[in-house]
Symmetry: C2
Subunit: 401 residues, 2 copies
């Protein structure tokens, strides 16, 4: 299911191919979010034209509506959303547990200063069986656990399913993190059992490593997940309270994975800023998903080669009012290559034109697709260190390899 074609001698970076039911995915790869059956503002043909081979669907949202029965009747997520290439689905665990802890989504991802309350639902009970909660759609009581998550992912018929996990935020105690991790391990086995009994042989299953920021818990979790029959391994849970700690947790965890599960593919959940992608690939991550490029894009922030400003350019700011230049000279995306100026994007974003949201989204996804292509080429060419350093220093994609 995963073949490794090249390795960087000076880091854990590897160039590989995921062989999935609906086709191959060259890694390292970024996976755009198609949370509710659409990469926001785009059609599938746009996502493909930007160079992406896989998208991520959201089990939690799709479980609430259309739900498993209708999704099965409509032939699964690929057919529903008209995306013919591979899909990875998360388990819904992250979203369910986010409801229990205000702002947990931001805390888990080590984002500071974010506003709590990503979701509008509420947890009613966390039990060994699973989680009871209120739907944000209609207030109805719903239940999601290992078996129902896997059943929903079977209905979605994704190429890669993720096991149902309890996702703990940074602020909980070490003891709570440990108990949640142990339950996640029991749920891992139940997910794999369900999949063996009732799942599709064509669907790969990834386990999830938990353990928060505690090295000994991460080690135990790596060993437990690696000892299971899962096809790939995702890294989830709290990665710390800032970027340095997050990079440390990822590096520690992938080092452990390299010892006990060297050949299985690794996915880093919910991380995707430019430096995180470069550092993550060097740590040995094969795939990433993140809302950042699409979310920033539709709110008017473009990704540019500017490490000092976290690779961000806010086109809504009035300083771009008369700027007759593209977001990034030489960029082949529909916004830059299409000749749209910063002045136009500024104007159209302020006028709330969806056209502008779509143009900046495409720019951001194009930037990241080309960045990942650079990293793949760099590993294959044995030039990962230099290319990573250049990209981290602010080289635009396409110039460093």
């Amino acid at each position: 299911m995963f073949t490794i074609h090249a390795r960087d001698p000076r880091s854990r970076a590897r160039r590989g191919i995921l062989h999935l039911a609906r086709g191959d995915v060259a890694t390292p790869a970024f996976v755009p979010l198609a949370t509710r059956g659409a990469v926001k503002t785009l059609e599938p043909r746009d996502v493909e034209a930007l160079g992406y081979e896989m998208v991520l669907g959201n089990t939690f949202h799709l479980f609430l509506a259309p739900g498993p029965e209708l999704m099965t009747a409509l032939g699964g997520l690929n057919r529903f959303m008209r995306w013919e290439r591979p899909i990875i689905t998360d388990s819904g665990g992250f979203q369910v547990f986010s409801m229990g802890h205000g702002g947990v989504a931001d805390e888990i991802k080590a984002r500071r200063g974010a506003t709590p309350g990503d979701s509008a639902g509420a947890i009613l009970a966390i039990e060994e069986r699973g989680v009871r909660f209120r739907s944000y759609l209609d207030g109805a009581q719903r239940f999601l656990g290992p078996e129902s998550s896997m059943a929903m992912q079977a209905a979605l018929d994704s190429d890669i399913a993720l096991v149902f996990d309890e996702c703990t935020p940074f602020h909980v105690t070490r003891d709570y993190t440990a108990r949640a991790m142990e339950r996640t391990h029991r749920w891992l086995q139940r997910c794999l059992d369900w999949h063996e009994d009732r799942g599709s042989g064509g669907q790969a299953v990834y386990g999830i490593v938990q353990g928060g920021i505690e090295p000994d818990l991460r080690t135990i979790s790596v060993q437990t997940v690696a000892a299971s029959a899962c096809d790939g391994i995702a890294i989830g849970g709290s990665l710390g309270q800032d970027k340095a700690q997050m990079h440390g947790v990822v590096d520690f965890t992938t080092a452990e994975l390299a010892r006990v599960a060297p050949d299985r593919p690794r996915h880093l959940l919910g991380i995707g800023e430019i430096d995180d992608l470069i550092v993550g690939v060097q740590a040995g991550i094969d795939t990433f998903d993140c809302a950042m490029p699409t979310r920033l894009g539709r709110h008017g922030t473009a990704i540019v080669p500017d490490p000092e400003r976290r690779w961000r350019l806010d086109l809504v700011k009035s300083r771009w009012r008369a700027a007759d230049e593209p977001i990034l000279e030489g960029c082949p995306c529909p916004a830059c290559d299409g000749g749209f100026s910063r002045a136009y994007l500024h104007y159209a974003l302020r006028a709330h034109e969806m056209t502008a949201a779509r143009l900046v989204t495409q720019h951001n996804l194009s930037y990241i697709a080309r960045l990942m292509a650079d990293l793949r080429a760099a590993i294959a060419a044995g030039r990962m260190s230099e290319v990573a350093a250049a990209l981290l220093a602010g080289a635009p994609p396409g110039t460093a390899v």
Copy 2:
């Protein structure tokens, strides 16, 4: 500037070509709105792919921002919004006067039951010189009159400019309508004078016929506008309080135009429902603009061949929840030909996915582009009556010619 290639012997319908600065436009044609420099949800390449040759830019909104100086500095509207084909710009009169009369936009267009208050600005004074009003953007006092409207349209560098007119709603007195019409005629001459002195020779100018629902006033206005040096003639103002009255006013006005200005192109302002387009073409209208297909589309109503439901299908309704069928079988638009089901569009519209707004917008504009192509082909083939009857009875575009 306008050549007529075929005429329907049994109506005033004609098949022609507008020869404009940036290319030809085959008529009869529908002109999608690019109100603030974007056809909502679409990129210019999408609009072109749907078969459109011209779009309409909005002088009022673009006057408030970016404004004439910046628009000139940025090279005009075509360059700004990256649309390389012809653009027609309205004069801003309709929007300015809409602010003075709550819901006037709906009333002028004979739409009943619409909510007043399309705009959030306010008229401060209507004078012979022009109109003083408050900007909805920042509350600042602004002024728009014949000369400043033409100057803004020169900055936009559109292929067709419209003269500045006072647009009266249905509920005003005959006396007010008559006085407004007379002022509009004086403004017509000032617009033409400004254009001759300072405008571009490449820009065509259309006069606007006013006179509300009064036949004698419409006749006077037709004669006055026809006697001027304008290149084409638009029909504006109140067209009545219902659809039958609107069709009557249009028919009466085009009959008058056929006598005194038979060879000049005719534009019907702000009208574009399916039956209005067919009836309007038979009355002798060459071009139409309307917010309907894009506005309905992004709110989830698709145009379908169903006269009994005013050609409308509301995809947000729960009856489409499990409908595994396209909006319209055999339709070549990106939504139908792309295989997106009503169930998917229903789900994605309810989830407020811009992707769905965009898909239905494309369907609607595709439907109207193909309808207009049918009407052009029907006139050329001498089959206008049969084709119009079939389309009015619910034949899908592409099946009746």
